[in-house]
């Protein structure tokens, strides 16, 4: 079949140091992948095209890039599945949120720094066992998904928070942190959770699910971040806007059956955080002025006792 590719090119050594898109047209087999297409370009058409790859079977994690705007593994993406229906070329770009070195090759140093900062190694306490550290199978099952991470960076490429804040630890590193916090053989939980509770940690994720959607290995980083939030709160770190927000939200639903938007921000900032609260006042004034005001008195839903009973029943199970 006939395939058109538009590849984002960038060469720091050329006189033209702005990136541009270059189109290629070629004949490909129905079974070919984006990586096959790129290698064919490099081999037969244009030897200057740079990209990373190794295993070609979605194992090594070197070929993450954006295809039609979404991150994934080039070796795992079939050309036929991504041909736009309107006849335009398939757009291939380097992974996002990481500096481009050349063409489709990005600098992974920020990625490794993030992963390293969560101390991704086992830190057991107590006496060293004679043989290996043992763990019951059922305690390790919940880690099956997260240990599948191949550190490809697809999630980091498309993370919506990293796009505005490079201080965020990011989905891959946070998933890795969960891998150790959740490991029964690791005894550094207290220290780990304390770090994860800080700015740039678990609370900065927007829950946008981009990382879940693009991860080629089913790691579901966001779900791990949510589990970490629960663990952070259970460990007694409740003095952050994030923890207060979650608690205030749940309290509101328990109390009235639905969300009390007026109280939520006040409770999430903490009653004593005047500065943050003053920051919110403009919205209240603006809403007043626009005549767009939420009802001042938050009513309970009918039969709210039934909701409260469910809270009691389910929370007792925990």
């Amino acid at each position: 079949m006939e395939v058109k590719l538009s590849v984002r090119r960038y060469d720091p050594e050329s006189t033209n140091t702005v990136s541009h898109y270059q189109e290629y047209q070629m004949e490909m087999d129905e079974a070919s992948t984006i990586l096959d297409a790129l290698i064919q370009i490099r081999e037969d058409v244009d030897g200057t095209l740079s990209l990373r790859c190794s295993c070609r079977s979605a194992i090594c994690g070197s070929c993450a890039m954006r295809v039609n705007g979404e991150a994934g593994l080039a070796c795992n993406t079939k050309v036929i599945d991504v041909i736009p229906s309107d006849g335009t070329p398939i757009v291939v770009e380097p992974a996002g949120n990481l500096p481009v070195i050349k063409d489709l090759v990005v600098d992974f140093q920020p990625f490794w720094n993030q992963v390293k900062s969560v101390e991704p190694w086992l830190q057991p306490a107590g006496e060293e066992p004679e043989a290996e550290y043992l763990a019951p199978d059922e305690d390790m099952l919940h880690l099956a998904g997260v240990v599948s991470c191949i550190l490809c960076g697809a999630c980091v490429s498309d993370c919506t928070v990293l796009e505005v804040d490079s201080n965020f630890l990011g989905p891959a590193a946070l998933a890795k942190a969960y891998r150790f916090v959740g490991d029964p053989r690791d005894d550094a939980d207290a220290k780990r959770l304390e770090t994860l509770n800080q700015e740039g940690g678990v609370w900065d994720c927007t829950r946008c699910m981009k990382c879940v959607e693009v991860c080629p290995k089913g790691v579901a980083p966001m779900d791990r971040i949510m589990s970490l939030r629960e663990k952070v709160m259970d460990a007694g770190h409740t003095n952050t806007n994030g923890a207060r927000h979650a608690t205030a939200f749940v309290d509101s639903v328990r109390h009235s059956g639905w969300l009390d938007e007026l109280k939520l921000p006040i409770k999430s900032f903490g009653i004593f955080n005047l500065k943050a609260m003053i920051g919110l006042i403009p919205l209240a004034i603006r809403s007043q002025r626009a005549g767009k005001v939420p009802p001042l008195i938050h009513k309970n839903i009918p039969d709210v006792e039934n909701v409260r009973k469910i809270f009691d029943k389910v929370e007792n199970k925990k």
């Binding site: 796009e163 927007t206 979650a246 939200f249 059956g257 938007e261 767009k292 939420p294 469910i310 389910v314």
Partner: protein, 296 residues
């Protein structure tokens, strides 16, 4: 067609204009709304409650589904977050009969049981799939020609795509664009349309949240959009309510009106703008409406 209406907290709270516009639009489109079937339904949990206790969230949503089932009606949402949270809960409940049975144990006392037959649907999908575009086109009385609109979906209406039924209903991926075209306006495509508006971290990391608002609104504006349209009231709250903050953070004018999906539909059905409280937005819609020659 009759639906059990789930308005969600935001349309009953901070976005009353969404509630009003929905009622007006459904009336003309012949979508009959039962407002009683779910009057005792709780919040979906918005993903926040799920952070603390997933099972609790699933139980509350199963309770809502059971109420719709009892009324014998399909369920309609008008918020991307409500829709997404419900779709995800439903996926877990329906996939695992044992789990569903144990959840139903906790609903028994109230005389409720969820059998797994509900398929919650956002108004956007109802228009495109249940009514169909031919029917919708036949109802449009005012073509909004010359208007350039950027779509903004809200994360929960596009991800996770499998729980949202994108495989069975691929037209969902471009449903907003279909509506924009059907009302005679031009689609301004931009990569931010399926990204996050930043609302969930508004009180956690306001700086990042405002930056997201700035990025999306400025990008859409620079690509020529006259306004942005969203099926998510939370996105609306952030993109409209915090646009002044975004504007000062980015040190430039943005002035991009954010329109709720039903307001856009309503304009094309000939409903008066003030009936849909289009005059009650933070970013004024006045100029937009005067260009369309419909008085605000």
């Amino acid at each position: 067609m009759k639906y059990a209406f789930y308005p969600g907290c935001v349309s009953r709270g901070a976005c009353p204009e969404l509630y009003t516009a929905t009622l007006e639009v459904c009336d003309i489109l012949g979508i009959e709304l039962d407002e009683d079937a779910l009057k005792s339904a709780s919040c979906t949990g918005a993903g926040v409650l799920q952070e603390k206790n997933l099972r609790l969230g699933d139980t509350l949503n199963a309770r809502t589904f059971a109420m719709a089932e009892k009324a014998g009606l399909p369920l309609m949402t008008i918020c991307s977050t409500c829709q997404g949270v419900m779709s995800q809960a439903n996926e877990r409940l329906v996939a695992d009969p044992e789990y569903l049975a144990s959840i139903n144990e906790d609903l028994k006392e109230e005389g409720l049981e969820y059998k797994g037959t509900i398929n919650p649907k956002h108004l956007l999908w109802i228009i495109v799939e249940d009514l169909g575009m031919d029917f919708f086109n036949s109802k449009v009385v005012r073509k909004l020609e010359g208007l350039k609109l950027a779509p903004f979906y809200g994360c929960y209406l596009v991800r996770p795509s499998d729980a949202l039924g994108f495989n069975e209903n691929p037209e969902r991926e471009t449903s907003l664009e279909s509506i924009i075209e059907a009302v005679g306006a031009e689609v301004v495509d931009f990569p931010g349309k399926s990204l996050c508006c930043g609302f969930p971290i508004l009180t956690i990391n306001p700086k990042n949240s405002v930056k997201m608002v700035a990025n999306h609104t400025i990008d859409a504006k620079d690509r020529g959009a006259d306004a942005m349209v969203t099926p998510c009231p939370l996105c609306h709250l952030n993109l409209d309510g915090y646009q002044p903050n975004a504007s000062s953070a980015a040190k430039r004018d943005i002035d991009l009106p954010i329109i709720h999906l039903p307001q856009l539909v309503g304009l094309s059905l000939g409903i008066a703008p003030e009936k849909m409280r289009l005059n009650k937005h933070i970013v004024s819609t006045k100029k937009l409406l005067s260009e369309l020659a419909v008085a605000p």
